[in-house]
Amino acid sequence: MPQPAPYGREVRIRIGGPAGFGIKAAGQTLARVFARAGYHTFDLTEYPSLIKGGHNTYHLRVSEDEIFSHVMPTDILVALDAPTIALHLGELTSGGAIVFDPHDVAADAIELAGRDDICLVPVPLTDIVYEVGGIKIMRNVVALGAVLGHLEFPLDGLVDSLRHQFAHKAPEIAEQNVAAATRGHVEAANAHCDFPFRLAPRGSVEPFVLADGNEAVGVGALAAGLGFYAAYPMTPASSLLSFMAKHADASSVVVKHTEDEIAAMNMVVGAAFGGTRAMCATSGGGFSLMVEALGFAGVSESAVVVGLFTRPGPATGLPTWTEQSDLRFAIHAAQGEFPRVVLAPGDQTDAFELGWKAFNLADQLQTPVIVLGDTYLSDNRQTQPAFDTAAVTIDRGQLQTTGEVEEYARYRVTDSGVSPRVVPGVVGAQQIVNSYEHDEHGWGAPGEERANRIAQSEKRARKFELAKTLVPKPVEFGPHEAAVSVILFGTTKMPTLEAAKWLAAEGVTVNVLQLVTVWPFPADAVHEFLERSKRSIVIEQNATGQLEGLIREHTLREVGHRLNRTDGRPISPEQVYAFVHDILGRHVELTAAGAIATSEGGR
């Protein structure tokens, strides 16, 4: 069966080279230029756990159509060193181009492995940098100019962007960069490649956000009135600490880089005790250290928010790559039993929304709320519609911060399980917030009495029932009845929706149930979805099928098929696309690089 071209009208650019060459910064500048010209963009940064050296790439997808994820093919490869060419030649589409510096590798020395459909665009990156009086790191800016020149895309968007970027430096710096980009633009145009697809600015531009997942969570948390953020750096959560530190003063947030994650989580509990909206974030290793204090938050009924941005484990694992293998860990971490909520944003818009809603849930339930993401969310940006900040509301639940109270008891047994909460400073609010089991006042010794233990543990458990009524519901995409039904949580949403778009264009109907809240587990919605599924797939980035197991456990239903990935690379839409075809009895060939083999580059 002939394969249609699923990729749409788009260009994919990959910039590669050693760490320290300004690859990500350059790529993000390019993304902004295209986004401001009316294109949808998605970027994927891949890098090893090194500061200098090692092979880094930045992959940018630019499309006229709405896009949801990265894809595997590359149309323009920007090689900031020679090895980049060999490493990524296999991804290049027919008619694709390689922008390179002939000083790094001579054009006639480039091994094209028999491909006569690749156009070489030699640009003397280093010579140009020195000609304009710049420094070597600016090679990336020459290359950006060359990419635009190759696409016959006007340079003014990049010029504006560079002037903005270097506005705080000496004026000649910005002008050197502009000159470098201009020279690159001219050189690429002179290469006379017959590139099959040109881009042009698209006119009016809808308001958009170009944020990575950590920034999106951070904006959500700040919108929600965050007052305290504590963290210890750990990939991929570190950039949220930098984001918070950058905005701390202007937003009047206390931001603390602590001695370790143990301190971070305990500090968050302390700040929450004072009535402040408080958050920490980390990856799995740091969360391991936080677990003790997570239980403290649970038994002390503290309203705290924890960002858990995962990477492949165990232990140090693959520090800069992605995985969803901490789902069960998030749900079960800490000894004993206490209610918690685990929210799983699937993209940056989700991350913003759940970022602020997490605080309302924490306050309403007086219990920890975990925002569960991963590297694919934390590190990557895509154009998203402007975040709906007007929708942000603040619900602090039962909280009194001023005045006085009479006969106050912090852990009053109530029907809802939620006790009226009063912060220290309110007259009459004598209370002990206790890591021990405790009585209504928070005192530990009477807490050991059997009747009290039952009353307090049942009180906490009732909050879990309340949580089920408050948490965000699963979101369904696609037709009500479909040939194939997918259940997923978190970032597999992105490649799955992309693949579903391609499949829909072929007449293959796919619907997707995204579990926005993974805990409490939305058993009823999953059960109902499975009831009307003809063929079901669970897609998740782990080896043991953690979500699949939860589905079995909570619905007593089997899911028909599973798609998992554990090499640290995000599941690609091509993989999902091929998998769906496979279970429908059709075979789709993928290239060694993972692209759809017969797509002719998609145009």
Binding site: G225, S252, I262, A263, F273, E292, I432
Partner: protein, 294 residues
């Protein structure tokens, strides 16, 4: 002025009869009363251990935190609630063992906290294991042939890390301890009071009698509390052989060192000017931040 008895809960203390914690409890209540601290003006954060059970007996607005973890929540509470004074009570196993890192980092920060350490040189609640301050070579149930490590020196650590108020107290001298507490509680910046607090059940070496024969008061010796190097040198004299006689080892109590006028951590954090819950009274305008992301 709140009466001493206003700081007492209806619960009867569960400490062993004669426990040093009683003296510390009494001195703290007296200090709070004499300083006229109202119960809504401060919080106390406890770690875990015999000292931590005091959370049941002091009628305050506080937290009974995790083992070794009293300092971080107290620091955050102080940072986000500039309207509250904050006291930390920790034990030697708790604060100088599992919590030693937090202690040292608190010293680096100089938050406006008072840390009171219940230093009985033993793990009492878990029935007599060696603690980080148990004397070198002393046998315990976890070290039957004697502790092989040198004890942690809290006073020396605090001075090395440039703490701004460093004192040692003795639970057997309540009036002296009350005065020490009052100084510590009114010091602006981190105040650490390490209190020799005999465990009458598990530590049969460092008893009340043993301390009474050895302690002397710094203020009575005309001690200069502004000389950090001298204080550091003096901190070395805490350590002694198990067999040392009262003549051989003298244990100073009182203020080793204090320095006023040092900016606290909170002073350096612009956001700490008003209670953190004020931030969440309405959604924050994030349009400027979003504009930077467009």
């Amino acid at each position: 002025m709140p009466a001493v008895k206003e700081f007492v809960t209806p619960l009867k203390p569960t400490w062993c009869p004669g426990c040093g914690n009683f003296g510390m409890w009494e001195a703290l209540k007296r200090a709070l009363s004499e300083l006229d601290w109202q119960k809504n003006e401060f919080s106390v954060v406890w770690g875990i251990g015999c000292h931590g059970n005091g959370a049941d007996f002091l009628d305050v607005q506080g937290m009974h935190a995790l083992h070794g973890r009293a300092v971080p929540p107290a620091t955050a509470l102080r940072l986000t609630r500039p309207d509250l004074k904050v006291i930390v009570e920790m034990g030697d196993g708790d604060g100088y063992g599992i919590g030693l890192g937090h202690f040292v980092h608190a010293l680096r920060r100089n938050p406006d906290l008072t840390i009171i350490a219940h230093d009985n040189q033993i793990y009492g609640l878990t029935t007599g294991q060696a603690s980080p301050t148990t004397e070198h070579l002393m046998p315990t149930v976890s070290t039957p042939t004697g502790v092989l490590e040198q004890p942690v020196n809290p006073i020396g650590l605090a001075l090395a890390q440039d703490a701004t108020f460093v004192a040692r107290g003795f639970a057997g001298d309540i009036p002296h301890l009350t005065e020490l507490y009052k100084q510590a509680l009114t010091h602006k910046g981190l105040a650490i009071v390490d209190v020799m607090q005999p465990c009458v059940t598990w530590n049969h070496l460092n008893t009340f009698q043993w301390f009474r024969e050895r302690v002397y008061k710094l203020e009575e010796s005309g001690w200069d509390t502004s000389d950090r190097a001298a204080a550091f040198n003096l901190s070395m004299t805490t350590f002694h052989d198990l067999t040392c006689t009262p003549e051989q080892c003298k244990i100073p109590i009182g203020v080793f060192y204090k320095r006023e006028g040092v900016p606290t951590y909170e002073d350096r954090v612009a956001a700490s000017a008003e209670p953190g819950f004020k931030r969440a009274e309405q959604p924050r305008d994030v349009s400027a931040i979003l504009a930077g992301l467009g």
